[in-house]
Symmetry: D2
């Protein structure tokens, strides 16, 4: 199964939440498994979008409690690794879609670029030409899929 990661902060704007929901929906419609950090904000909206479209979701959690997962996570990976779990989100995804996000998201973008994985950005850090900046959820999913199969 194709695993695509969504990265973004546990707090996001209404617009970010809507974009995340739509990205989750589209990934589910493409048959991709959504991988994320399992918490609230962008992660929760994306997972809700995926679940409501019949998709599967994986949350790679930073803490030691399975209950910190948002309600739309199917598979809960409990790491107890704190921010080091960010690297697992990146490694477990064939491409990453970043939506808004703060410093944690920037760390994930950086690791993804380090590992040579495609990173598509929606209203996120615009700090490197290798981040493929797009404007819509549909473009984000299309670009992520194209980059993988290239």
């Amino acid at each position: 199964m194709l695993q695509i990661g969504i990265i973004g902060a546990a707090e996001c704007s209404a617009e970010g939440a809507a974009l995340a929901y739509e990205v989750g929906t589209l990934l589910a419609q493409q048959g991709a498994v959504l991988v994320c950090g399992g918490l609230s904000g962008v992660m929760e909206s994306a997972a809700r979008g995926a679940k409501e479209a019949g998709g599967s979701t994986v949350g790679i959690l930073p803490g030691v409690e399975v209950r910190e997962a948002n309600p739309y996570i199917d598979i809960k990976i409990v790491t107890g690794l704190s921010h080091a779990r960010n690297i697992l989100v990146v490694r477990s995804s064939e491409a990453l879609i970043a939506i808004e996000g703060g410093y944690g998201t920037l760390s994930e973008i950086a690791i993804a670029l380090k590992l040579g994985k495609p990173v598509v950005g929606l209203n996120t850090w615009n700090v490197d030409p290798n981040i493929i900046q797009v404007k819509t959820a549909a473009e984000a999913v299309a670009k992520a899929l194209i980059m993988i199969h290239r």
Copy 2:
């Protein structure tokens, strides 16, 4: 979804493989998601049993390559953490079933006991009274489920 871990070595006896296959089958029939280290031996036989019974499988891989997963793993968590991924297998499971196994399996049993998780053993390390030793795959699955719901 209920996540149950199967722990054991990447090399195992024919008997161990048969036990693992049967445990995987029974867990799938109970609707549990099988969590394991994703490699060969006990992990592969258990995952094959689960998949052939229509279940779901998660492999928490030690290396950096998704292709190190055995062919029966649905969700591939690529950690790049080497043996530190053992702790994630334990944390991501509500109970653990150990089948045979060497020192790596012993480390997982020890962490599971440290975290107060049920550990059921089939022909495995018999080094502590809190490891619930059983003789059959059916007993192993039954004990694991009972211990969780207690």
Copy 3:
């Protein structure tokens, strides 16, 4: 510099604390750097022994706060990895001396054996012939040093 690990629980008996103190002293006298988990109990007594004999100490801490280190730790490695830091204690040591200990210590012994590192035991888990059981701190340090240089 030669790095030797001391493993044992954050709570220990008076006898365990005395043994740990003596092991720490002897390691410092041999010029070895003491590596441990940085917390209380066996870890603190060993580190105190090393410091009072003029040695150096490293604490590989499980949490996110440098202040969780005991007062005898020189170099504080703050991991935020919880029990996964156990594996770093093992990997960063050329030999391990286990003193008493519970399940956490057992997990470290198991990882050390998995990695083929010498493990010397003082009143600890006696679950495998590859754990070299000794009775005194002097024997523990002598055995650890001999095993490394073999």
Copy 4:
């Protein structure tokens, strides 16, 4: 002991190496312990500067081999965690000085900012106002020390 981290790539320019050497020297003269990733490039030049000025150095290594450390590392933390060790470099430092650097360095800068640690930059990523950009090694060390004691 005060622990300050130097972050930068395993390959760097001659100018970056010279800056790293000077930062290492100055940190040693201030009595700080230099924490780094233990490899070549910026890490090696900084560690050499610190050692030649009589200081102490810690290398938090990504791989499983102690011999991957550069020759100027006193304390070798062998993690086997690959890029996840970046987070330990950040957590184990009270302030970070970034010199040049690629995506790995960017991930460390991001985690440091996430954790609220001071980050001083020398010819490095200029992507956020919270990175304190300076021009000389002396300014970098002075700024790092001032930020900690604030």
